[in-house]
């Protein structure tokens, strides 16, 4: 049977401008590969070294399991406290940063900018800053995680509140409720599932971050890993890496389970 009309082309013909954009993007990617020096021969040359280090890593050395466990606990506690502080501070900041809830556009833009600053500066940089400000140890790491959490949760809390149904808010406004009452009675309960979800993701992220922060002296298990690598104790490093992997895995599983239970 002959079709009545021919089907359209499988792909749209790009405009000259779009075509130019594609070419430039491709050229930039090729140039970037060239600049960072990724090459197959170099990878092949490195393979024996990788094999040697992996060979020295196994079997992992369990002799320092006690100190590793304590450092791991400290790491997780840094993540928990940093996330808890960050979540609590994020809520009022998110209300001020939300387009529909902020009392004034200037306050909204100022708060958004502050949250963006916390998010865009990497947690390792915050950790370096706090190590100088409050000294070595878990306090610096906790404060770094707190700021990183505010940057993450502040943005997502604000967006989830903006997406809530406006009806309940209008109803409370109509009955003469205060602005604060309206936010906490109508908006926050609606956004709560999203808040919980974001907070749990934030805890997962903080757990991973807290491992790295130790590398700059901000507490946690990272410093143990750095010392083991610096002293070429690859079997001990393997034990630490396995411990970190187990911690992250447990946190991710528990947070997924909590998500399904609470939301």
């Amino acid at each position: 049977m002959t079709p009545v009309s021919a089907p359209p082309n499988r792909f749209e013909r790009p405009s000259a401008l779009t075509f130019l954009f594609y070419v430039l993007a491709l050229a930039f990617i090729v140039w970037s590969f060239n600049n960072v020096g990724v090459s197959i021969p170099r990878l092949v040359d490195g393979l024996p070294n990788i094999g040697r280090i992996l060979g020295q890593m196994f079997p992992p050395d369990p002799s320092r399991l006690g100190p590793i466990s304590l450092a791991l606990l400290e790491t997780f506690q840094m993540a928990v406290v940093g996330t808890a502080l960050g979540v609590v501070i994020s809520l009022p900041l998110a209300i001020l940063a939300s387009r529909s809830l902020s009392p004034h556009p200037i306050i909204q833009h100022a708060t958004r900018s502050l949250i963006s600053l916390f998010r865009t500066v990497p947690d390792l940089v915050w950790a370096l800053f706090f190590v100088i400000a409050v000294g070595l140890g878990p306090v610096a790491g906790t404060l770094a995680i707190m700021l990183d959490t505010i940057g993450f949760c502040g943005r997502f809390f604000a967006e989830s509140m903006e997406e809530t149904d406006k009806g309940p808010r209008e109803a409370l406004t109509a009955l003469g409720a205060s602005r604060t009452g309206t936010v906490f009675s109508a908006v926050v309960p609606q956004a709560m599932p999203s808040f919980i979800n974001t907070s749990l993701f934030s805890l997962e992220k903080a757990t991973r971050s807290s491992v790295i922060l130790g590398l700059v002296g901000a507490g946690g298990i990272g410093i143990e890993l750095k010392v083991a690598m610096d002293l070429f104790l690859y079997d001990l490093a393997a034990a630490i890496i396995i411990a970190i992997f187990l911690l992250v895995l447990v946190v991710e599983h528990v947070s997924s389970w909590l998500r399904t239970k609470i939301i």
Binding site: D165, G167, P168, E170, A171, L172, T173, A174, L175, G176, A177, S178, T180, G181, F184, S185, A186, P189, Q190, M192, P193
Partner: protein, 287 residues
Amino acid sequence: MPWEGASMTNNETSPFAPGHPDRAASGAPSSTAQAGPETEVGLDLAVEGLRKSFDGKKAILDGISLAVPRGQAVAIIGSNGAGKSTFLRCCMRLIEPDSGRIALLGENIDHMPRRRLRRVRSQVGFVFQRHNLVSRLSALSNVIHGAQAHHSGPCYWHQALAPKAVREQAMHCLDRVGLAHLARQRVDSLSGGQSQRVAIARALMQRPRFVIADEPVASLDPSAGEEVMEMFAELMRSDGITFVFTSHHLDHAISYADRLIGLRQGRLELDGLAKAQDIAVLREIYE
């Protein structure tokens, strides 16, 4: 006045009149043109020359003037887009009108500061087409929210935080709408009719003098719709509240209202006693 049936007297101050405290405080000039409806005593709602358009396009409300005396039931009818919902929202200043004057419960609310406006709104129960409850919270928490009309603070955000007296009052309101047994149920597990009754209980929690309902039965099946309208009628009988509602159900408008107001393309097309209306004439409003 467009409506001849409202009982009014001439011997007290109009909410728009030159001597009214609101006008004295605002320093507004007392020209005749700005003086409002001539006879306002006992008026729960008085509107004059109300206009509203969105994005500078065609007017949704085009110079509406009317007055509703205390204790009256008024049905506003009109086709979709006639301006019914916009009119009700403008009356509460949930939407700011472009021009015109509004007096709610005897107080001129044009340019009224937010705090004073909240005090006036607290005496008006507003029931929406979609119940506008917080679906994740229990029926009891939603009813307790109604207490925010007169109180503020975290005690009134959730039933778990509310004082005993407030919880008991909320249960009484739920009892009045026949839903006390569902107090702990989350709203998203209730039917449309039950949710609308919870919304009415929330309005009752305000102890309102005046109830405004924007198509309160539009999303309900006929039987649930009938139940909800009966509930409003019972409230009028028992509490003597003023009731203004919009509806597409002409039978509801005639049965439950004393007076009918017809809007067409933002203009007042009809204003008269409900019982005196011919259904065929009313249908013309929708054409």
